[in-house]
């Protein structure tokens, strides 16, 4: 029997048992669609997080106080010293590295900001002019913090659009005075709206020179030093040199953690990718369930078509041919089911993408291949037994039954 005829015969018999076939196709396609949609969601979440990170800046190296657990015992601890905080001198020292393009120190604190009767509690950042470029922010109006020595505490402030709305309404804010805590600052610029990135909303920022922030909060501490390497290739060197400079600055103590943004992104990337695969794997279980369903329905089909099988044998079909016929039915079913499932999955992903436009929902190619392969594989695997049962039927008994 020719392959073409085998397929035709199989599809003909599937057609005439259309409700049974339909049921199996549905089961298969739901499994495939589940894998596609869930991995698309996982992948969307991963891409979302990565995008968030890269919107924070490029070629970033970040230093923050405290040592990550790998350092072991540090000699300072033995003589009762607490780890030293990061200060402005440390930040300035980092610029000695030739791999570093620019640097922005970051101080932080909460304060009451008011314009006459209007006031609200905000997070105040202290930094320098470089922050604008490092963090990829842009101005809607006016200027960012002035260039100049980092320790100059000029009374100027840059605010986000939401703060401007709340404290000034439609009035012009640039040039106006704001009270932050017990000091007065002149508004010199308004940040353009960029939405949220990593939990920090530029719309609700209030940025003052770092020295002013230190005076406001009566502390010399920095929570971060943001360092931008000169190029992608120099990121690692910038990290190492920053680490060494801060090591020397702190009198030979490794009490500062310096990480590259890439490493952080990679960590998140790994976690989310694993999560996506796990979720996809769980969804793939439904494909195995579909496979078992196919097996049962095929077994029913074999017993319902006992006479036909007996007849085919009487007409000279060898056992292998009978096996191929039932095999072909299973393959056709899983093929149609998988394709329908892929379409359903893509449609579902598209709909979710429409509902959550910020999430880049798209099933990764490996998930599509895996879903398709698993569906086809389980369909074929679970049809082996029914096909063998059919091939082994005794034709005399098969024909005697009526």
């Amino acid at each position: 029997m020719k392959l073409n005829d085998t397929l035709q015969f199989a599809s003909h018999s599937l057609n005439s048992a259309h409700s049974r076939s339909f049921l199996m196709i549905i089961a298969m396609s739901i499994g495939v669609a589940a894998v596609v949609i869930l991995t698309a969601l996982g992948e969307g979440a991963r891409l979302y997080v990565i995008n968030q990170f890269s919107s924070l800046g490029t070629n970033l190296v970040i230093a923050f106080p405290g040592r990550s657990e790998t350092a072991g015992i540090n000699p300072g601890m033995l003589i009762g010293q607490t780890p030293r905080d990061l200060v402005l001198d440390d930040a300035m020292a980092v610029l000695r590295s030739t791999a570093v393009r620019r640097m922005a120190p970051l101080a932080i604190g909460a304060a009451l900001v008011s314009n006459g009767p209007l006031n609200r509690e905000v997070v105040v950042l202290g930094s320098t002019a470089e922050l604008l470029a490092i963090r990829h922010m842009t101005m809607a109006q006016g200027q960012f913090l002035p260039e100049g020595p980092a320790d100059a505490a000029s009374p100027v402030v840059v605010i986000g659009t939401k703060i401007k709305q709340e404290l000034f309404g439609v009035e012009n804010a640039v040039g106006a005075w704001l009270r932050i805590g017990d000091r007065r600052f002149r508004v010199i610029g308004i940040l353009s709206s960029q939405g949220e990135a990593m939990g920090m909303n530029t719309d609700e920022l209030v940025i003052v020179p770092v020295a002013s922030a230190h005076m406001l909060f009566n502390s010399q501490n920095l929570i971060r030093i943001l360092v931008e390497a000169k190029s992608r290739e120099q990121i690692e060197r910038a990290r190492k040199e920053t680490e060494e400079i801060l090591f020397k600055q702190h009198g030979g103590e490794r009490d500062v953690t310096v990480v590259t943004q890439d490493a952080m992104v990679a960590t998140f990337d790994r976690i989310l990718r694993t999560l996506t695969m796990a979720v996809g794997g769980i969804a793939a279980v439904s494909l195995a369930v579909a496979g078992v369903l196919i097996m049962n329905v095929m077994l029913i089909a074999v017993s319902q078509r006992t006479q036909e099988i007996g007849l085919l044998k009487a007409l000279g079909a060898p056992p292998a041919q009978i096996r191929r016929l039932f095999f072909a039915e299973a393959v056709l079913l899983s093929l149609v089911g998988s394709v329908a499932g892929l379409l359903l999955g893509q449609l579902g992903s598209f709909v979710i993408g429409q509902i959550y436009p910020t999430l880049p929902v798209a099933a990764p190619w490996w998930a599509i291949i895996a879903a398709f392969g698993t569906a086809l594989g389980s369909g074929i695997l679970f049809s082996v037994w029914p096909a063998r049962r059919a091939a082994q039927l005794d034709p005399v008994l098969a024909l005697a039954r009526r």
Binding site: M1, F9, L312, K313, L315, G316, A317, P319, Q321, R402
Partner: protein, 226 residues
């Protein structure tokens, strides 16, 4: 061309041995017209199934055209069945979802014959069996006589040398049965060996050679002398 020597066929039913065929010795020549008669349970169908390679003897040798077919494996037996043997059943055994034409075409499909040749041969056969206007009907839309004619067409489309019919008229009224018998007899005139199991004395007596079975044994084997 068909030679049975000392063929036995036993079935184990529970822990009971059933001797369906006992020590059968039988030789049938090419082109013979043979009827097998005997009471129910005497082993007629079992004998036919052995001849048709649907079953294997428990002991003894079966030679078909000089070849010991009992030693062939399943694949080889299927091939012999496809090429040399045609079956006609009491209950027709047409595939219900296939049209008359497709049912007739089935052996050609299994034999890997090209589509064009298939269509041609099926059309020819439909014509000569008077089924031309029933080609696209499904079995449920056909009368008993038409169904059996489709089944005979299917059994003969591969030009088998042996045609095995197990009570082919058992499910038909006597007029239609006569028609079917005449159709089968025409085939013997073309050189096909016809072996027909029947309950009907009149039909059985038409055969040129009449075998009688009782209790798994051949107890009578007479030839018409005219």
């Amino acid at each position: 061309m068909i030679a049975f020597s000392n063929v036995n066929r036993d079935f184990l039913v529970g822990d009971q041995q059933v001797h369906a065929l006992r020590d059968i010795n039988l030789t049938l020549g090419a082109g013979e017209y043979v009827s097998i008669m005997g009471p129910s349970g005497s082993g007629k169908s079992t004998l036919l199934n052995l001849i048709g390679l649907l079953d294997r003897p428990s002991s003894g040798v079966y030679k078909l055209d000089g070849l010991d077919v009992t030693t062939l494996d399943d694949e080889e037996q299927a091939r012999v069945r496809r090429e040399k043997i045609g079956f006609v059943f009491q209950f027709f055994h047409l595939v219900p979802r296939l049209t008359a034409a497709m049912n007739i075409e089935l052996p050609l499909i299994l034999g890997g014959v090209e589509v064009e040749e298939r269509k041609e041969r099926v059309a020819k056969l439909l014509e000569s069996y008077g089924l031309k206007d029933r080609a696209e009907h499904r079995p449920e839309q056909l009368s008993g006589g038409q169904r059996q004619r489709v089944a005979i067409a299917r059994a003969t489309i591969m030009h088998p040398s042996v045609l095995l019919a197990d009570e082919p008229t058992g499910n038909l009224d006597s007029a239609t049965g006569k028609e079917v018998i005449r159709l089968l007899e025409q085939l013997t005139e073309q050189g096909v060996t016809l072996i027909m199991v029947t309950h009907d004395r009149d039909n059985g007596n038409r055969a040129l050679r009449q075998i009688t079975m009782v209790d798994g044994r051949i107890v009578g084997d007479k030839r018409k002398s005219d």
